[in-house]
Amino acid sequence: MNRLRKLPAGLIMFFAAMPLLTAQNRFPKPEFTSGYKAPPLSSLPSAATQLERSVLPVTPYLEYAALGMLLIFLLLSCYFLYRKRSRRGIFAMVLASVAFFGFLIGGCICAVGSIQNVAAAVFNQNFPISPVVLGIFMLPLFFALFAGRVFCGSVCPLGTIQDLVIFYPLKVPPLLDRILRILPLFYLGAGVLFAATGISFLICRFDPFVGFYRMTGPFFMLSAGTLLLLLGMFVARPYCRYLCPYGVLLSWLSKLSSRRVSVTPDECIRCRLCEDVCPVDAIMPPSPPEDEREPMRKSLHRIILLLLLLPMTAAASGVTGYFLGNQISLLHPKVVLCRQVCAELAAGDRPQTDESLAFRSAGTPVAELQREVGGVVSNIRLGSCILGVFLALAIMARLFNFSKRREQQDYQVDRSICVCCGRCYSVCPRDKRNRITLKEGE
């Protein structure tokens, strides 16, 4: 049954990947006659331009090595998590991930950022995407489909650096925690919209930790990363829980996973130590007795009401998104350039920017730029409309989720929230490795 449930998702992933896998660059490399040799193309663009001395130069070889290492890390994480049930093993993977995916290859390209490459390639046929980037995007999702969010726990360089600083994780009030968990939906939607319409790679631009791995970066980026790490000492993995757009995809697929982290290898004694130690509040208590629960009819009525509200909410959100597209388009580089050029034309003595100077030097007619901008704005409006509908559906789905009756016997992990860090293993008193011996008087 579980296998059948995964089949549609697997097929969707496979067919979504097909056009990307067969895509080729439409234009060949220019042939230089001056003797200049073009550097090898890299699918890790920002890394290629920004990596500092501490980071290995990105070569096609390293790209494939990174993909291979990702596969090995995921397999090892599954091994330590499900076969060995070893928090130490997972912690070793965390350190290795920080070293390899973080400092060695500079935190780029990571699966989180690859969302944008894929979105840009899907919506723009001229945007090239290499099989490596596609692999980096797909592999963690594929593993999530079978083994949950193993990628988050011990492979993702953004997650592992936060895992290292967890010191005294406080419990976020459940209501606040659940509301904040909606934020990644917005970030994912905005990231895909921005990448697909060519505004920018938002997720990479505001990647808070890549600056640490490269030991350089904009002040804002480093400050945001520092603040998140400081916060992460007491609120575990704040980026993973309340921002990470890739986590949204992983949590959706992990809901279908057949395997989940099983806190106890034995019978649960309901000591709730796992609930106390879980840094991301993923341990769900058992359902209360039937007489303490709300009647089934009430739950059913609520779901029917939500179903009735769904089309209206989606329509309102889509229309709002469509009109908001006009404002969002102000962020597109072409619109910014067009505004600047038009303003310069309107006021002859307005200072020029480097971009407007380059545009004018290229000799492209302003009318052509304006035509392009018209197309860009239309695309953004459409994308923004779709984003509005998507967000409405996703939020309504959350409401459905909190409206249905939950049946659960013991303390179990919520597969969509659990980041597979293995901390619950280390405290479960039913695990023989955790039994301590007390000396007299202790």
Partner: protein, 574 residues
Amino acid sequence: MKKVSIKTRNIIHRTALAVVVVASVFLLAVIMIMLLQYRQIKRTEPLNLPALSGLRGQYINDERGSEQLKEQIRQLDLLSRRAWFTGEDQLHSGGFLIIGGMIVMLAMLQVAASTRPYPNTPPGGGASTDRLAARTRVGIAIGGSAVLLLAVVTVFLVKPFALPVAKAASVKKTAPDAQLTETPVATEEFNRNWPFFRGPYTIGVAPDYKLPVGWDGKTGKGILWKSEIPLPGYNSPVVWGNRIFVSGGNKQIREMYCFNAADGKLLWRHAADNIPGSPAVPPEVTEDTGYAAPTMATDGKRVFAVFATGDLVCADMDGKRLWAVNLGVPKNHYGYSSSPVIVDGRLIVQFFDENRQLLIALNTVTGKPEWSADRKTSISWSSPSVINVAGRKLIVTITCDAVETFDAAAGNPVWQLNCMGGEVGTSAAYSEGRILVANDNACAAAISAAAGRLLWKTNELTLPDVSSPVAFENAMYIFSSSGTASCVDAATGKKLWEKELGSGFYSSPLLVSGRIIVFNMEGNAFIIKPDREKYTQEAVCALGEKVVATPALVNGKLYIRTDKFLYCIGDKTE
């Protein structure tokens, strides 16, 4: 693995916490120092230190170019660069210190976390999941609604970008008739003649010919011949080989004339009549513009004339009509005056009136339009110039609002700079990558030809309204209708000198062999040495007749038109 006792575990826990505190203090200190260093580096411009700039200024002003000063600049420059890069290196080293500190801190944090007192059962327990779910639903609904509301407010409050449509040029292209096109006449051929208004370069610069001086119109000294032109016109002569072309006209008839350059004999005349679309009643024009203000154009095979009626006539060199069209009757309160030019087999006509502002390229062979750019601007009396920017021919036009360039081949607008105003009658000058413009009630300005960037703009000059400027060696020379000659630094717009010369100038100056010749309206030709320092007059020759047209100069002979006559001035011995 050996189990540790609780006591030992507590000691390890406390020690780890102490190390964490020390590492945190260390990290904070390093971060603070690095922030200060970062601020310092960001603020410093190593190549533009005030001291360095001061020394550079001294060196530029020091004509002898002191070696000691040069060495001092080099030393300071090196010091400045070294300081900047040292700061960069210190930042990088600081990064490693932070990494080291963080590794220690993280390791100790892990130790402290793993040696914490054993977990206890959390308080509470068994919280009502139904109640929590209900509160969550409310929270999510409120949060979602708030986001939607915020989006709606943003839609209403943030003004979206509206594409300007009025100013955009639309270019209409027509496929040329491939059967009738021919290889355009070579540029060298044009440069050996005087095919357009303000010469073959269209910017008032003559190929390097000898400039006749010492002539006198009243005594006839140096006047080789003088021929009467049948009908009046304010256009200037154009010359190809031994033929001189001018046009003339009145309300009844408009004509082209061809004179023999050797003796001034009228070789032929051609009336611009029987043209489809030509108005039965010509438009009203002012006396000082007339019906034949635009200068003719020729490519050595054909000659072209455009009149205030909008009639455009093409004849061969023997006066036989090849084709003629009416471009539309110009609605123009002074009269149509823009002169056409020829670029790569296309006749470029700036056809501006109160209703239409078109730049049209006609196939010189067929007369069919190849492209036309609709400018949607305002009327102008200026003539287009052609410049070569990075191997690309650009047409420069001046409207009453802006200076604009168009790709000569395709007609696409390249850039537009709104810096003009008033009624513009002058055309552009060009020198060293700068387009220079000057018009009364607007401004004098220099614009980067490649980028369309305004370099400077000034109103502190006596500006012309008919006579176009000319540029030479980083200076622009302008001659106003009130009789003032001015020189402006082409790089900065700074006025270098100004000189009152009496009668006003309508005729445009020509730069010939390092001299400027310009006629004022009294018919006095001023021959001036272009000098940035001061007005340097070398000679004044009087023609004795009013002159508003611009002369042509070919093979050392100066051809100048007056109200009624065409003069040829030169050395009789040549």
